[in-house]
Symmetry: C2
Subunit: 276 residues, 2 copies
């Protein structure tokens, strides 16, 4: 499994990925799922991948070494290195996904393997603002907006609530990085197939190069603080909420049977007598 | 969708269910998923159901009105009303699931519908301790143990972390009820197809009848306190964790590039030059 998250803020972009892959619980390996494409001063792109590793590796290889068929109307082939916009770069990525599908799709289907892959692609090309895309296995894609400033791929559910509670376009970069790490911590706690080390990139708007690039392993002091602190404090919050008080009018928040139609549970006291 | 949780503690049992069903997001209805079977002083059982509603309703109907084929060696048919143990009651339930499969399975398969159903059955029969079972769509089942004192069915992921952090066999009943409600709140926040009203039953060990039975709607003071308080305090905890400090040796918890082999991210600076 995999967990990756990409976040687009006014202040910049944040990318975080785990590095565990598994083919069954008895076949677990470490593969990095993040790759940075950078021509300093001209473009910076970060690619995160999830799904079938043979597919995502093929797509990444094609992005690097092959001329793609996606062409401008008259000019040379468009690649991620000469794309004029992130939108064009997302099209190049989608085209690479379709290329692999054309090559491998039928054989995978014959073997009963889904063509399962997804990507987060974000970054900035000189001359336009930052953009963040989610690319599906059909090569189609969607773009993040202020209402939904992040994308997840892989095991998304455990880590989603904290993203929803914290992230807005105005969130500062370091706070968003913290949020992504808490989200990753929740995911790793609940799904053994998501694991260390993590790759984290924090990109400041309009820099057109990445300085804050880090690999986080089990010894990282900050991530250890997150892991210990979040769990302990969550428990303190839980304990600070009052326990329910049943049908006590003295309580400020009684757990009281409401009046009205919703009050009756279906309770069968004998086989023939129903209290509905 | 559905979210139900059943918890077995030394002090008793806790059951919580939502009441939303959907066939697509444009077809949402309210159906209660909890049913209590009780012969006071002799047996109390609580049944929670998830999956295809036509299947779970059929199973519940069979449990009520039909004689089941599951027979004791010589005696009369075993039903949930004369089962000598919760284990036998779980077998009766499994048998009812298989009965519906025999009747509907083929037609459902022809229509491309999975035979998707699952149940949590817990309670106590006079003469033995409390027991809690998870019954699958094949009619087979597993029992909760001290190491795993709870079962979930339906949309389980969002609400699982808090159960894992809080529940042990020694957890008091009211604290476990609070924990189940927090778990439900997290699930409802992230999955629109899980919704109010909720049914909550708290059963005290060896009572052989249920007093604490409640339906919780949007006006319930305690659940409103949980919803407001948990979200607000989670945010406070998040804010109380320090933001990352990059490569600063003065920080107690720097987010620092570790030495060693994990330090290098795959970064491609031009098409031909790889920094690995």
């Amino acid at each position: 499994m995999t967990y990756c998250v990409g976040i687009k803020l006014n202040a910049g972009l944040v990318f975080l990925s785990d590095s565990r892959t598994n083919a069954g619980v008895d076949h677990i390996s470490t593969f990095r799922k993040m790759i940075v494409y950078e021509k300093a001063g001209d473009r910076t792109m970060v690619l995160l991948s999830a799904g079938n590793l043979s597919i995502s590796q093929s797509v990444r290889e094609i992005l690097q070494i092959e001329e793609l068929e996606e062409r401008g109307r008259d000019g040379p082939p468009i690649t991620i290195w000469n794309a004029r916009s992130m939108f064009d770069a997302a099209r190049v990525l989608g085209s690479a996904v379709r290329h692999v599908y054309d090559r491998d799709g039928e054989a995978l289907k014959a073997a009963g393997v889904d063509f399962n892959v997804s990507f987060i692609l974000g970054g900035q090309v000189k001359g336009e603002g930052m953009r963040l895309f989610l690319v599906y296995s059909a090569g189609n894609f969607i773009e993040a907006t202020p209402e939904t400033p992040y994308f997840q791929i892989g095991e998304a559910k455990y880590g989603k609530p904290v993203l929803d509670r914290v992230l807005t376009p105005d969130t500062p970069l370091d706070e968003a990085a913290k949020c992504a790490l808490v989200s990753m911590d929740s995911t790793m706690k609940s799904n053994l197939s998501v694991g260390l080390p993590l790759d984290l990139v924090v990109y400041e708007a309009n820099r057109l190069q990445t300085d804050k690039v880090i690999c986080i392993d089990a010894d990282n002091p900050y991530f250890r603080m997150i892991r210990d602190g979040w769990g302990r404090k969550l428990r303190e919050v839980f304990d600070s909420l009052e326990d329910p008080v049943w049908n006590d009018d003295q309580s400020a928040h009684p757990l009281k049977m409401p009046a009205g139609r919703h009050g009756a549970l279906r309770k069968i006291s004998t086989r023939d007598e129903k209290l509905i």
